[in-house]
Symmetry: C2
Subunit: 317 residues, 2 copies
């Protein structure tokens, strides 16, 4: 498991390196959601998503030998940017394997951070397998996207900051992809406020973590097709699943059109740019899948990496 102290150590390491992202509130959102909502806006994090926190924490933990070999990663986008950016910060060489249909803005950003990109067909091979092969072939240090306590400890710092800024919360909503963000978030809030409820949010077309938790073991699904490209996992992480089994109270599912409505609402009313995964936890509230019943709610807005062109396409439908 992960300890609060691991997250605090990551926070000290990230101080002055990661952005301290703002916590936004809106009376309109409170009225719509039925509670007092605090959005932790990791869309403003370096690299455009919370992923930088975990990647930088992981790379900082490597030995000089491991760094000298360079690092590699596999990711649909945000983890790729996070690893590329962390590697540049620390003067380490990085190679990234990305799905060929990853959003153009994400491909361009990774390239802009100076990493080498290779693409693959994500519908023909599970991500974990493709990543393992890539790392072996390159003889580089593999940076996992989620299934590692150092990644989760870094990700957990966002929730630590949220609680520092918003104070006690009764309920925390976070997207679940591989489970790194959720593992860190749940560890922090349950350590500080054991009575708080922790709700994960997945795309309806995936539901892999919800079904795994119900089954009591990690199930595997074909690569799901939905809008939230940050959450297209075929199986929860092995380590993160154990943490989530212990600490997550419930998982709710959100449909694509509910994600789009939340993205439009966040743009219109809060002036926030979110990618589909970034809006999914807010969507769960707006679509009524969670009723906070007046409680103090924290929501992790995990990322904003949607290019202008893709945003226009999504909004125009």
């Amino acid at each position: 498991m992960l300890a609060l102290e691991d997250v605090r150590a990551a926070a000290r390491l990230l101080d002055g390196v990661a952005h301290r992202t703002p916590v936004m509130t809106s009376r309109t959102l409170d009225e719509r959601a039925g509670g007092r909502v605090h959005l932790k806006c990791e869309s403003f994090q370096r690299g455009g998503a919370f992923k930088f926190r975990g990647a930088f924490n992981f790379l900082s933990s490597l030995s000089p030998e491991e760094r000298a070999r360079g690092v590699c990663a596999i990711s649909s986008g945000n983890h790729a940017q996070a690893v590329a950016l962390s590697a540049r910060e620390l003067g380490v060489r990085a190679a990234i394997l990305m799905p060929e249909d990853a959003p153009a803005a994400k491909l361009a950003a990774v390239e802009g951070y100076g990493a080498e990109i290779t693409t693959y067909d994500r519908y023909s091979k599970p991500q974990v397998e493709a990543g393992r092969e890539f790392a072996e072939e390159r003889q580089m240090t593999f940076v996992p996207a989620y299934d590692d306590p150092r990644i989760a400890a870094g990700a957990g710092t966002a929730t630590l900051e949220l609680l520092e800024d918003a104070g006690a919360l009764d309920l925390l909503l976070a997207p679940i992809g591989g489970g790194g963000l959720m593992s860190g978030a749940a560890t922090v809030i349950k350590a500080l406020y054991p009575g708080a409820r922790v709700i994960g949010v997945e795309a309806e077309a995936s539901a892999v973590t919800k079904r795994s938790l119900e089954a009591g073991e990690r199930i595997q699904i074909p690569v799901p097709r939905h809008l939230a490209d940050g959450q297209m996992l075929t199986q929860p992480g092995e380590w993160t699943f154990e943490v989530m089994r212990e600490l997550v109270d419930e998982v709710v599912l959100v449909a694509d059109d509910e994600i789009l409505a939340a993205m439009a609402f966040l743009f219109d009313r809060l002036k926030l740019v979110t990618e589909p995964s970034g809006a999914i936890a807010t969507a769960a509230l707006l679509a009524g899948h969670v009723d906070p019943a007046g409680a103090r709610v924290g929501v992790l807005v995990s990322g904003g990496n949607v290019g202008l062109e893709r945003f226009l396409d999504l909004m125009r439908g």
Copy 2:
């Protein structure tokens, strides 16, 4: 003139009422602009723009008799929202005169805050005249949009916060409409850092303050037509002009396509939603009208009140 102490007094009054908006930075923006840029994001202010600061400060200064008569205002949108919201906060009745072609999102928001709306044709009558008639007819307390020290003192609190968060700045860029934001901003920065340069930004199709400063007196122009609907003034304010004549070092002009490019850049790279006036000061940097030469730059992103539909239209051209 205005004193720093007036702005500090307004800041104490606004503490806990106005949002303390974030200051955003971006290495990509720094590279493009050629300086270390700090964006004070008033797009996240209550009512979606800096205007709430001045309106609330003004309304707070009214006597019980003045409040009892209710307040009225004339505005293309952001001041209207600010007055409506401030009036609701303070339990005062509000009536707002708005141009009939004001953005739909702004009309809807004012209505949502519980104010009564009347519309008029802004191309047939100067705003100041229409506002004066409206106030006389309604026998309500008129809330000026910019030409008043209490409005400017409230607006100046944004720059006070920017300097608290960013530290010393060599250069400050702010949009100029009627001059309320600029009067407050210039007062604050020149009091704290007398060597700092203050640059105002206007739409090319207006240039009314630039030409007035060059002429040494307030000139009057027909209602200009350009994208920055928050800056469609026909003449600088009487009081604000005296402050700006004293404290503004330069005014630069920005074309509509440069505003659109800045809005797209702020969306893509900083995940910020801005209305045209909100992006105009950043546009001056990105378009090369100002060269910071490595300096520490503050930019006031004055507002984000652009509805999703209008944003899509503007970006799709």
